[in-house]
């Protein structure tokens, strides 16, 4: 079982510090969601892993060994900017890419047939790539990443531009590869997808990993959040001044708050029940999108 480790990765483009001491690990069977604003360094990290770029310092290790040309061949890679020969036929192109990875001709053909079938582009094998819709080109791109049965997947925004059916197919493939033991890293701006698919999530900002963990862990960092809804319009100003909690947000029927001491929420509930009719009460799971927004909104030096 493989484990991919990014250790102290830094990369400068002239004066621009694109990556700044980036550290994270993706274990076997993990699906790691890599999120961050545009230009945060996601693609740079992936391209360094693939050897397309060279790190200014730091290493990418596979099972403790620095990735080299031979071990990189085990990676299935989908670059951010899609790359295929525009005028080459889908089938020929996939066979060619498989052969470059060392598959014999017959195995390359079998793999091409399997993945085009699987990804729903079997009928387009004889078409040139540029004749396909962008979504279908994307599927070919994924097929190109999977054609040599890689042990590791590094996919840069694999879901962008896909229709919901294709998103499902792509999700299944990622889950399947992870189940087979592959570490899977993908970047995405579709945070609901990341939340749904990923074992762990890393949030990168200005070249630094500002938060890594399971979605639950990231949510627990946001504190113990609760939501209370009342029947009929209510004035929640009492909650703002309530001890041991901090009001996060409210409407005239609903309020979200953070407990500062364990059990404080029960006191809130008791108070609310005494003053009005409680419609619902429970733990509030912060969507990853909100966690992400909060995380990247913090000033740069907050992680020191």
């Amino acid at each position: 079982m493989s484990q991919l480790e990014f250790r102290g990765l830094s990369k400068s483009f002239g004066d621009l510090r694109a990556l700044d001491d980036l550290n994270f690990t993706v274990g076997a069977s993990e699906i790691f969601g890599f999120v961050g604003s545009n230009g945060a360094g996601k693609s740079t990290t992936m391209r360094i892993a693939l050897g397309v770029l060279e790190a200014t310092s730091g290493q990418v290790l596979l099972d403790g060994e620095e990735l080299d040309f031979t071990t990189r061949r085990r990676i299935g890679y989908m670059p951010e900017e899609r790359g295929l020969y525009p005028k080459m036929k889908v089938g020929d192109q996939l066979i060619y890419l498989a052969q470059l990875h060392g598959l014999p001709k017959a195995a390359a053909r079998a793999s091409m047939e399997k993945w085009t079938e699987r990804l729903g582009i079997a009928s387009r094998r004889a078409d040139i790539v540029q004749a396909l819709s962008l979504g279908n080109q994307q599927r070919v791109q994924l097929a190109a990443a999977l054609i040599h049965e890689p042990d590791i997947l590094i996919l840069d925004e694999p879901f962008s531009g896909l229709d919901p059916v294709a998103v499902d197919v792509m999700s299944q493939v990622l889950i399947e590869r992870a189940e087979l033991g592959a570490p899977v890293i993908f970047s995405s701006h579709q945070l609901d997808l990341v939340e749904r698919l990923c074992t762990r999530v890393g949030i990168i900002k200005s070249g630094r990993m500002i938060a890594v963990g399971t979605v639950d862990e990231l949510q627990s960092r946001a504190g113990d959040r609760w939501r209370i809804a009342m029947v009929g319009p209510t004035d929640f100003s009492w909650l703002a001044s309530f001890p041991e909690v901090s009001l996060v947000a409210n409407t005239d029927t609903r309020a979200e708050f953070l407990t500062l001491t364990p059990g404080a929420e029960q006191k809130v509930l008791a108070h609310a029940a005494a003053t009005g009719s409680v419609d619902s009460f429970g733990r509030y799971r912060v969507p990853l999108a909100d966690l992400f927004r909060d995380a990247v909104a913090l000033p740069d030096d907050s992680q020191e």
Binding site: T25, G27, A28, S29, E30, I31, R47, G51, V52, L53, T70, R72, R73, R74, I75, Y77, E81, R82, G83, L84, Y85, P86, M88, Y96, L97, Q99, L100, H101, G102, L103, P104, A107, E117, R118, G120, A144, E149, V165, D168, V169, S171, Q172, I175, E176, R177, E179, L180, G181, A182, E195, R196, L197, C198, T199, R200, V212, G213, T214, V215, D216
Partner: protein, 449 residues
């Protein structure tokens, strides 16, 4: 493993779920089996990545695979098939033109019986001008006239008024000159017959001997067929080298602009990609040039043009291939290195002018300076510089003005130059292809590790 990883079972049971079980929407992702590919997932289920069943390719294997792709792309490309077809037609057509422009139609003469001796003189004079000529006797003047009118013969000869030429519209200048000379010789012979034998012979000899010409500055011995073949050789080499170089540059940029380079570099090294591309396009270009050479040599032989050639056309053809190989390698490497600097086809125009100027200069020296003055300093120098020698030297060879030693020296310079270029190009290409975006500077790609 990091402590953050939730417990995982490696037993492979379906209950092992890498997805956070508490995540909302999980079931929709896992239970989707309505996608277009769902039915096939049972027949082509996932295979265990496990131990790899294939070994990485050797360098030679990778290079050959890349070269084969390039070869098939270029052999199958419509534009190169059309170019080759058009050029072959132009070449064969050109040789046919040379044949029929260079050797005009044979002249057919007719005569009445009493003009037979005069006609024999005319025929021998026309033959002395390297023209083919035939003659035929007609029964009388009327038959002769109608044969001329009908176009069966170009001119009729009668003895009216000493010697008369009967033509339809106007007299062919060669025939007219020959007939005039023949009439004069007849008159001289008649006059000589009236003189004593020795004086008559002397008069005849004086009047029939040609004017002596003393040449003070003889031109180089380049005949028309050599100029023609030199021109064709120069043009084909120019076309092949330029076309091959451009194809390499465009191929390099295509991989950068389409970003396929990032995927390729995950499985092959830059130098392997470079080598495969240069070899593949080179083989396609050689096939193209060889088509021209074979078409040219075969056509020239069929037309009988080779009989009058002062050189062996097959040797010229083989030299064209050898020089093409050197010229192609030199320029393909330069074009590849410069192509790697840019990421868009439109930007090629900003990096290629220098090598393009060199190829065009070589071509111009070869086909416009060399024919008039093949021994001039500029032609000689150009036939040694590896950037111009592949076009200029074979033209000098076609003119028979380059000695074997000169050719060998020039070849050696070319062969020595190639590994040097290869080293520089590999460096520039390896550094250049990974960096897409704006145009790169030569010093940057040479400097980077």
């Amino acid at each position: 493993m990091s402590p953050n990883v939730p417990p995982q079972s490696d037993s492979g049971t379906t209950s092992t779920n890498p997805v956070d079980p508490s995540s909302p929407g999980l079931t929709s992702a896992r239970s989707t089996r309505r996608g277009p590919t769902a039915p096939s997932s049972t027949t082509s289920g996932p295979t265990t990545p496990g131990p790899r069943q294939f070994s990485p390719l050797s360098s030679a294997g990778s290079i050959w695979l890349i070269a084969r792709r390039e070869l098939s792309v270029h052999l199958r490309s419509k534009s190169s098939i059309i170019t080759t077809a058009i050029m072959t037609v132009v070449l064969v057509g050109g040789l046919i033109l040379v044949k029929y422009l260079g050797s005009p139609d044979p002249i057919a003469l007719g005569y009445v019986s009493e003009a037979e001796a005069a006609t024999t003189t005319v025929v021998s004079m026309i033959e002395a001008q390297d023209r083919e000529v035939s003659s035929m006797q007609y029964s009388d003047l009327d038959a002769l006239r109608s044969a001329v009118t009908a176009g069966d013969i170009d001119a009729g000869i009668s003895l009216d008024d000493g010697l008369t030429l009967i033509v339809n519209e106007e007299a062919d200048s060669t025939v007219l000159a020959a007939a005039t000379n023949a009439k004069h010789s007849l008159a001289v012979a008649q006059a000589a017959a009236m003189l004593p034998a020795n004086e008559g012979a002397e008069l005849t000899a004086q009047l029939s001997s040609p004017v002596a010409v003393t040449v003070l500055n003889p031109p180089s011995d380049v005949d028309g067929s050599q100029v023609a073949v030199g021109f064709i050789v120069g043009f084909l080499l120019y076309l092949g080298i330029f076309g091959g170089g451009m194809a390499v540059a465009q191929g390099v940029v295509e991989e950068k602009s389409s970003r396929v380079i990032e995927i390729l570099l995950a499985s092959v090294r830059p130098w392997q990609l470079l080598a495969g591309k240069v070899i593949g396009i080179g083989l396609a270009s050689i096939a193209q040039v060889a088509t021209y050479v074979v078409a040219g040599v075969v056509t020239a032989n069929i037309l009988g043009l080779t009989d009058s050639f002062s050189f062996n056309i097959l040797t010229v053809g083989l030299w064209v291939l050898v020089w093409f190989l050197i010229g192609y390698l030199v320029y393909a490497l330069i074009f590849a290195a410069l192509g790697a600097l840019v990421s868009r086809q439109e930007d090629l125009g900003s990096v290629l002018p220098l090598p393009m100027t060199l190829v065009i200069a070589a071509y111009i020296i070869g086909v416009s300076v060399a024919p008039s003055d093949p021994d001039s300093t500029i032609v000689t120098i150009a036939s040694y510089i590896p950037f111009t020698s592949p076009i200029v030297m074979p033209i000098r060879s076609a003119y028979n003005v380059a000695s074997t030693t000169e050719v060998v020296i020039s070849l050696v310079i070319g062969f020595v130059c190639i590994p040097l270029l290869l080293a520089i190009t590999t460096k520039m290409y390896s550094n250049g292809v990974r960096r897409s975006g704006s145009k790169l500077k030569i010093k940057d790609v040479l400097k980077a590790s």
